[in-house]
Amino acid sequence: MSLDLATTRRIAKLARIGLDDQEIEAVRAQLGGILGWIEILDEVDVEGVPPMIGTSTNAALLPREDAVTDGDCQDKVLSNAPDREGPFFTVPKVVE
């Protein structure tokens, strides 16, 4: 199926990836190509087939004790922040 420009713009907005008009058109064409190729799945009858969620078939997910295992490492958490003020991450002003 082909993808229209409006849908491509909407996806770029949802993913928060800023694209200019030229890039939008290129992405539209490429994603359209990939979606066309994926149409091969229309041949497969999946009536009554359950979706495969996760890959672990042999091991059930085990609950662990609900306890603190880590903490008291504020400096480590903040060590890669692009911008910080004291113990806080900063972002541009969101409320005018």
Binding site: L3, T7, T8, R10, I11, A12, L14, A15, R16, I17, G18, L19, V27, Q30, L31, G33, I34, W37, I38, I40, L41, E43, V44, V46, V49, P50, P51, M52, I53, G54, T55, S56, T57, N58, A59, L61, L62, R64, C73, K76, S79, N80, A81, P82, D83, F89, V91, P92, V94
Partner: protein, 498 residues
């Protein structure tokens, strides 16, 4: 030369005091220094740390009771977080990220005495099959075609690890495999690459691409070395709920095990992609040779059918981008990574940061994933793909009722030249046609080099095993390796060229 040894040989030499860990490490840091400017296998090198660790390894060895990998110099794919050492995922967006913690897999290797030479190059966020999408430049495959100087790709995404091991710039390396990222570069570079069962190795501290598929594994020059490394890397980790609590055997003991009576399946659907390519004949011949070797070793060769094989790639290119779009949402320029300048609002900050920080292929996959998960399309694409994935897994379950292991080619071609890179992303994705099905089903699989094509380039065969039965693929792989007698080495490697 010390750089020519296998891990098994070096471990023995260290214990017999034929050479020291410092000498062994120095030989490798010298090789990296001589070759990395050209091969670009490493994004970050840590020779001083390596030599310091080697001194400690020598004292551990003198004291006796040293763990298996003591003093063995390895390359670490730059997707594993390493405490205090820059970890980039080959992306600009975290190009200066220095993790304050160590991934479980690398922590296990360090506990086992291994020495890290540096962080190896990869496709950005492990998305690619040619190591052409790294923000730190592409990697040169140490192999070249006969009488042809064209630069070939090392495969991807673990192309830096594969090239480093092939060029003797490391004795072994870690890789990660989501749809073939260990096995395909191993085949392109003439080395062994083992993707374990999903859940065999912890994913904690490994930068995520597609969490239901990502799995770490060893890349080495022999099957025995892969077995030694895997024994150190595998095992339960409470920090990864998908990491299985299944005992880790001594995988090395599986090498050389008798294959008498073992049933080897040949998937009948795997030959049609080869018929379609010009180079397919060499690979078909290598595949036949592999089957013959195993028959002579006492295996029974059985035709099997995996009817949903032809849908695996399309399914993968829905599920992997969906998981990637979700995993990569965290790179927003707020808590870590590179933040774009001049943003006027929070949304603008996200958009500019993510546009500037991600390369084209990563952006494409995030957008694709966002689309297949978005309202109105979820059922038609994502849910449908999850159902087809069930059918792909059933194919394997049914095949493994009749056979113990599957033998297939690893990739549809040998390594291609950088300038032969297809413009169409779909053509590029076809490189993973033989590796993706096993990934979708979570099976363990290994690529073993078995032959050279008519241009002198290595070709690999893939062994796919039952869940948590890495031992059988190691046993079969070591027999295949021995009988195939693959001793060729690339023209570009430590000690022979610079």
């Amino acid at each position: 030369m010390l750089t020519d040894l296998t891990i098994a040989q070096a471990a023995e030499g260290l214990r017999k005091k034929e050479f020291s860990a410092v000498e062994l490490t120095k030989a490798h840091t010298d090789a990296v220094e001589a070759l990395n400017g050209r091969v670009n296998a490493y994004i970050t090198v840590t020779p001083d740390k390596a030599l310091e660790a080697a001194k400690k390894a020598d004292s551990t060895l003198s004291a006796g009771e040293a763990p298996a990998l003591t003093g063995i110099p390895l390359g670490i794919k730059d997707l594993f977080c390493t405490n205090g050492v820059r970890t980039t995922a080959a992306s600009k967006i975290i190009g200066n990220f220095v993790p304050p913690y160590e991934s479980t897999v690398t922590a296990k290797l360090l506990e086992n005495g291994a020495i890290f030479l540096g962080k190896t190059n990869l496709d950005e966020f492990a998305m690619g099959s040619g190591n052409l999408t790294s923000a730190f430049g592409s990697v040169e495959n140490p192999w070249h075609r006969k009488d042809d100087a064209s630069v070939l790709v090392p495969g991807g995404s673990s192309g830096g690890s594969a090239a480093a091991v092939a060029a003797h710039m490391a004795m072994g390396a870690t890789g990660t495999d989501t749809g073939g990222s260990i096995r395909q570069p191993a085949a392109y570079c003439g080395i062994v690459g083992l993707k374990p069962t999903y859940g065999r190795c912890s994913r904690w501290g490994t930068i995520a691409f597609a969490s239901s598929l990502d799995q770490a594994g060893p890349m080495t020059r022999t099957v025995e070395d892969a077995a030694i490394m895997l024994t150190a890397m595998a095992g339960h980790d409470p920090k990864d709920s998908t990491c299985a609590d299944v005992a880790v055997p001594d995988y090395r003991a599986a090498c050389g095990r008798s294959l008498k009576g073992l049933r080897v399946g040949i998937p009948q659907e795997y030959d049609s992609p080869l018929m379609a390519t010009e180079k397919g004949n060499d690979i078909l011949a290598a595949w036949k040779k592999g089957a013959k070797i195993l028959e002579e070793a006492g295996c029974e060769i059985i035709d099997v059918f995996l009817p949903h094989t032809r849908y695996a790639l399309a399914t993968y290119y829905i599920i992997a981008p969906a998981e990637c779009s979700s995993n990569l949402a965290r790179y927003d320029g707020v808590r870590f990574g590179k933040r774009a300048e001049g943003a006027t609002s929070l949304d603008d900050l996200y958009e500019k940061t993510r546009h500037n920080g991600f390369g084209e292929e990563v952006r494409r996959r995030i957008l694709m994933g966002t689309y297949v998960l978005s309202a109105g399309y979820y059922d038609a694409y994502y849910l449908k793909a999850q159902k087809v994935r069930t059918l792909i897994q059933r194919d394997f379950t049914q095949a493994f009722q009749k056979v113990d292991v599957l033998l297939t080619p690893t990739a549809p071609t040998a390594a291609f030249a950088r300038d032969e890179k297809p413009e169409d992303p779909v053509q590029m994705y076809l490189n993973d046609i033989f590796t993706v099905p096993a990934s979708m089903a979570g099976q363990p699989a290994m690529s073993v080099p078995v032959a050279l094509d008519d241009k002198g380039l290595p070709l690999g065969l893939q062994l796919i095993g039952k869940h948590f039965d890495e031992e059988t693929i190691i046993a079969v792989g070591s027999a295949l390796e021995k009988a195939a007698g693959f001793t060729a080495r690339p023209d570009l490697r430590a000690g022979v060229s610079a």
